[in-house]
């Protein structure tokens, strides 16, 4: 079969698991008799972007590399790098494989799968990592934590925004998969946490529109990925864990097929360099990539703890490579601090020597992993493995049988675990528990069987696509012949035709001279051919492009200098503008202040004018009022004078009256006194009279009583009721009493008259006083009002002026 393997990188440029596996598989398939072509990438600087180069490797397979010098500018380009799929399509058109086996499509693009599908070529995909369900292929988030899906919604879009946060961190360098939050500056760490686990808007610092766009974009990209993966005819997973994880991708048919590895040079180590037989300290090793998620930092910390507890009872050697140079430097420094040996990168052919110097291999990954090649290599060499109890790793290492598991990311637990191996007997016990590792050839055979089944099943599709079925008999043979040739690789066609032309020359009986290669070459190519013309044209065009590029570069440099000068000038001008703006602002502020003052002055002037006019009016009215008041005053004064005279007159009158009254009162008083004396005399007389009366009365009464008694005794009750006794009516004292009554009545009338006159005098005085008081009060009111208004006017600026 013609088998095409596709990988995103290839040794020696790339030496991690997938790449080395692909190289080993290619060699194994060639050994099995298949024709193998590998399509991969290269960073070779001498090649233009997307240029293809083919070489034949010593193991007998062809390797075509597409140069990649431009990198994705956004997630959509990361999924489908522009131009790569088209180049792969051209390459497929030339190679015409029977089956394409993708080891990965990262850096190459999903379009490669579509190109193979469009050509009705069966597609196999080995799921080496989580790319079918995770655009970061590790299920690791930008903070290097494991994806919490499905507990957190929109995790993929959050990772996109998280990447944007990391990209904004100054001087972060090539952070590869991510950066732990504790290694970020505070604000960025908080933003990253907010984006990944909280509210990307409220806590992550993104606008709501950005968040919505991120979700929509990621959903579209994930949908595209699922759509393309659905085109894969057979997906192979080397671990059941991986199979479970990618079940939700677009992959339709998923089968478990464990890896094989080249191990012919490793197996002998189990006996030739058995672990724990060297008599020295425990030799711990790491082999593999040095990315952050491989957990080498955990191993170094664990080793540090181990050494503090068990000095010189163990060694640690780190073998590996990563393009994350700052991180590798950091690890190397840490290795020095804990006393580990930093061995750096190694080639595959050096692996036996590397493993021979180790007793145990540690794979301290902090991500789920899949089926690490390094574990298989170590086990094949009879080295137990210590690895994280995480993801698929427990499928590769059986705890306490051929290795040990520890808590992922826990340096202390790893240290404790390693400490149990300080007793090399334990190491030997675990080594004895290692079961044979699947070889690469076995793996290749398993794959070849699957390839063939797919090719056979695909034949119907090809027949249908090429419309070979149902052809008239006269056409079928020809169509089949054309179809077979169309499916042949271009190289084979070329070889076949060249051979055929040699035969043609003989069959057509060309003279031998004419068939000589040199003659043929001269005749065919001396005058040039189309390829030569195309090449010359291409060279000329390249030369022209180069000159144009140089010209553009010169222009760019000039432009850059001009831009620099312009920027400097603009910066100066900006500063000037800023300064002028500041001055303008000051001027504007000043003008505003002046305008405000002017307005205020104008308002003030207006108010002044208004006030002045008002004052004028007031003045006029005040003057009028003053005039009126003056008039009033004059009137009031006149009235006052009049009242004064009246009051004086009255006073005089009252005085006169008072005098008269006084005289009269004196007279009356005297008269009263006289009358009083007279009254007293009369009273005395009255009392005397009274006494006489009383005495008479008593005598009379006694006589009456005596007569009454007599009468009574004589008349009795018959005369008692008809006689009215009025003591007052008796002559003598009755007249005095009448005179007293008359005097009293007269006195009473005189007193009443005095009282009335006094009341009259008081009323007259009250009226005059009231009138005067009212007039004076009115005058005082008006005067006080005038004073108040004058005082108010005096309070005004005009008044003050």
């Amino acid at each position: 079969m013609r088998i095409c393997l596709v990988a995103h990188g290839f040794p020696p440029e790339e030496r991690t698991g997938v790449e080395t596996y692909t190289a080993a598989l290619a060699a194994a398939l060639v050994r099995a008799g298949h024709r193998v072509e590998v399509f991969s990438t290269t960073r070779a600087e001498q090649l233009g972007h997307l240029a293809l180069r083919r070489e034949v490797r010593a193991d007998g397979y062809g390797l075509t590399s597409v140069a990649i010098h431009e990198f994705p500018q956004n997630p959509a380009e990361a999924l489908d790098p522009p131009g790569v799929a088209a180049r792969f399509g051209e390459w497929l058109g030339r190679e015409r494989p029977d089956v394409v086996h993708f080891q990965h499509v990262i850096k190459l693009g999903l379009g490669l799968i579509e190109e193979a599908h469009a050509r009705a070529i069966p597609i196999v995909y080995t799921v080496h990592d989580f790319y079918p369900v995770c655009h970061r292929y590790t299920l690791l988030r930008p903070d290097l934590s494991i994806c919490p899906e499905p507990e957190v919604d929109d995790v993929c879009a959050r990772c996109d925004l998280g990447t944007a946060v990391l990209n904004a961190v100054p001087n972060i360098g090539d952070y590869q998969m991510g950066v732990a939050s504790e290694d970020l500056p505070g604000p960025y760490a908080a933003r990253l946490r907010g984006v990944l686990d909280g509210d990307p808007v409220a806590e992550g610092g993104f606008h709501e529109n950005d968040w919505d766009k991120a979700k929509a974009a990621r959903a579209a990209l994930d949908a595209r990925r699922a759509e393309v993966y659905a085109l894969v005819d057979l997906a192979l997973v080397p671990s059941h864990f991986m199979g479970d994880q990618v079940a939700r991708s677009g992959l339709q048919r998923i089968e478990y097929l464990p890896y094989g590895i080249p191990l012919s040079d490793l197996v002998p180590l189990a006996e030739q360099a058995s672990v724990g037989e060297h008599g020295g300290p425990l030799r711990i090793g790491y082999i593999g990539g040095l990315s952050k998620h491989k957990g080498i930092d955990v191993l170094l910390d664990a080793f540090g703890l181990l050494m503090r507890a068990h000095q010189a009872e163990a060694t640690l050697t780190v073998h590996g490579y990563s393009s994350d140079k700052p991180y590798v430097s950091q690890l190397a420094r840490r290795a020095g601090e804990v006393g580990a040996r930093w061995a750096g990168p190694y080639e595959r052919h050096e692996l036996p020597g590397v493993l021979a110097d180790l007793d145990v291999v540690v794979v301290p990954s902090t991500w789920y992993e899949n089926a690490p090649i390094a574990i298989r290599e170590a086990l094949a060499a009879g080295r137990p493995v210590v690895t994280s109890r995480l993801g698929a790793l427990s499928e590769s290492v059986a705890h306490d049988r051929d290795g040990l598991l520890f808590e992922p990311g826990d340096a202390e637990d790893l240290a404790r675990t390693l400490a149990t191996l300080l007793d090399l007997a334990e190491v030997r016990r675990l080594a004895a528990g290692i079961e044979p590792v699947i070889t690469m050839d076995t793996n290749a055979d398993s794959l070849a069987g699957r390839y063939q089944a797919l090719v056979d099943a695909n034949e119907e599709r090809v027949v249908e696509l090429e419309k070979l079925d149902g052809l008239p008999a006269s056409l079928a043979g020809f169509a089949q012949a054309v179809s077979s040739l169309e499916r042949a690789p271009q190289r084979e066609l070329f070889e076949h035709v060249v051979a055929g032309l040699g035969h043609l020359g003989r069959e057509l009986k060309l003279p031998e001279q004419a068939r000589r290669v040199d003659q043929l070459v001269l005749r065919a190519f001396a005058d040039g051919d189309e390829a030569q013309r195309s090449l010359r044209d291409a060279r000329h065009e390249v030369s022209w492009l180069r000159r144009s590029m140089e010209g553009f570069e010169d222009s760019r440099r000039s432009h850059a200098e001009y831009v620099k000068w312009s920027e400097a000038t603009l910066a100066d001008r900006d500063a000037t503008i800023q300064s002028l703006r500041a001055e303008l602002d000051d001027a504007r502020a000043g003008r505003a202040a002046l305008e405000e003052r002017a307005e205020w002055l104008e308002a003030g002037a207006k108010a002044h004018e208004t006030a002045r006019l008002a004052l004028e009016g007031d003045k006029t009215s005040l003057e009028e009022e003053a005039e009126w008041l003056r008039g009033m005053r004059a009137d009031l004064e006149a009235e006052r004078d009049w009242l004064k005279s009246e009051v004086e007159a009255r006073d005089t009158h009252i005085a006169g009256l008072q005098g008269e009254h006084q005289l009269e009162r004196d007279g009356l008083t005297k008269e009263v006194e006289e009358l009083s004396r007279e009254l007293e005399e009369l009273r005395a007389s009255y009392r005397e009279a009274q006494e006489r009366i009383e005495a008479k009365r008593a005598k009379r009464l006694a006589s009456e009583r005596a007569w009454a008694d007599l009468v009574g005794q004589l008349a009795g009750p018959l005369l008692a009721d008809t006689i009215e006794v009025d003591p007052e009516r008796e002559a003598g004292p009755g007249k005095a009493i009448d005179q007293v009554h008359a005097a009293r009545t007269k006195l009473t009338a005189v007193l009443e008259e005095l009282r009335w006159r006094a009341a009259e005098m008081e009323a007259a005085g009250d009226d005059a006083g009231a009138l005067f008081t009212r007039r004076i009060a009115g005058y005082a009111y008006r005067r006080s009002a005038l004073h108040a208004r004058l005082a108010a006017w005096q309070e005004r600026p005009e008044g003050r002026a």
Partner: protein, 315 residues
């Protein structure tokens, strides 16, 4: 007027056949010399036989001959020729519509030194595009078919390199003498060029008769079965085989050089079709060399000279 047997190989397109038959039967009627139409059912399934009643009915002068297997145009034509009643045979594609009066000029042009006569075949009925007026050119070691510059003649008879197999009149006895169509070119294309070229090399001419007009509507069945790419492959293969069969020894070296150049260019510039066509032709190499052994009166270069007009462009 000599009667003619018109032979139409058919792959079953009945409507197309009816259209072709209509013009023919009218021509027969007008000529009234006993022309016949021989329909050859080349479906290999007897499909036309089932349509016999609809196609032929009680018409006179129309026969249906059924092949047991599909053999392609050349084989079907041969079958028809063998079944024909007359010596003069007009081979016709089912997508050709004859214009009234086409047969007589053809028969009149078929002289004793003429192998075949081609009518003016108008592509799609367009008088400006006459398919059947052609030349073969020799340039850079390659014989290829070209249309001569300028318009085709509109009257009289003129030499042409070949008569298109789907519209040519010939005497079947000469057809048989010449060996008929070479199976080397099966299933189709260039068998007619080869036949007429062999005729030329044997001293017999092929003429273009401008007074006989047919329309070729290119709605043939082949297009339903084979893509344009595959039809092109047949053309290119046929051209190569024709060259290998007829190029003189003096031109073979140049031709081989051209093939090497074409091979390398095709490989380097990703024109794999060139490689496919060469492969197809090379697969027939043994049959080609057998064909080169035939003895002829004229060389290819001589024939090129015999075919009048700007047909020779030898380097």
């Amino acid at each position: 007027m000599k009667p003619v047997s018109v032979v139409i190989p058919a792959l079953g397109d009945v409507p197309l056949l009816r259209r072709a038959m209509k013009s023919l039967l009218l021509e027969f009627e007008l000529r009234d010399v006993g022309d016949e139409l021989v329909l050859v059912d080349d479906t290999g399934t007897g499909a036309l036989d089932r349509e016999r009643a609809a196609l032929i009915g009680e018409r006179k002068g129309v026969r249906l001959v059924t092949r047991e297997t599909n053999g392609g145009f050349a084989a079907a034509l041969t079958t028809g020729i063998e079944a024909a009643h007359h010596d003069l045979v007009f081979s016709m594609n089912s997508d050709v519509v004859a214009r009234t009066g086409f047969l007589t000029p053809l028969t009149e042009a078929l002289g004793k030194d003429v192998f075949a006569v081609a009518p003016a075949a108008l592509l799609g009925g367009d008088a400006e595009t006459v398919e059947s007026y052609n030349r073969v050119r020799l340039a850079s070691g390659l014989l290829d078919v070209r249309m001569p510059p300028g318009p085709a003649p509109t009257s009289g008879c003129h030499p042409v390199a070949f008569a298109v197999g789907g519209t040519m009149l010939f005497d079947r006895r000469r057809f048989v003498e010449l060996g008929g169509f070479d199976p080397l070119f099966e299933p189709f294309y260039f068998e007619d060029v080869d036949l007429c070229w062999r005729a030329w090399r044997a001293g017999l001419r092929t003429l273009f008769c401008a007074d006989a007009v047919v329309e070729h509507h290119h709605k043939g069945t082949i297009g339903r079965y084979l893509s344009e790419g595959r039809r092109r492959a047949a053309v290119e293969r046929g051209e190569l085989l024709f060259n290998w069969k007829h190029l003189g020894a003096d031109d073979l070296a140049e031709h081989l050089a051209l093939l090497y150049r074409r091979t390398l260019d095709g490989y380097l510039t990703d024109r794999r079709d060139d490689l496919v066509w060469l492969s197809l032709a090379l697969a027939k190499l043994d049959e080609v060399t057998a064909g080169r052994d035939a003895k002829f009166v004229h060389s290819t270069r001589a024939v090129l000279a015999l075919v009048d007009g700007p047909g020779i462009d030898a380097d």
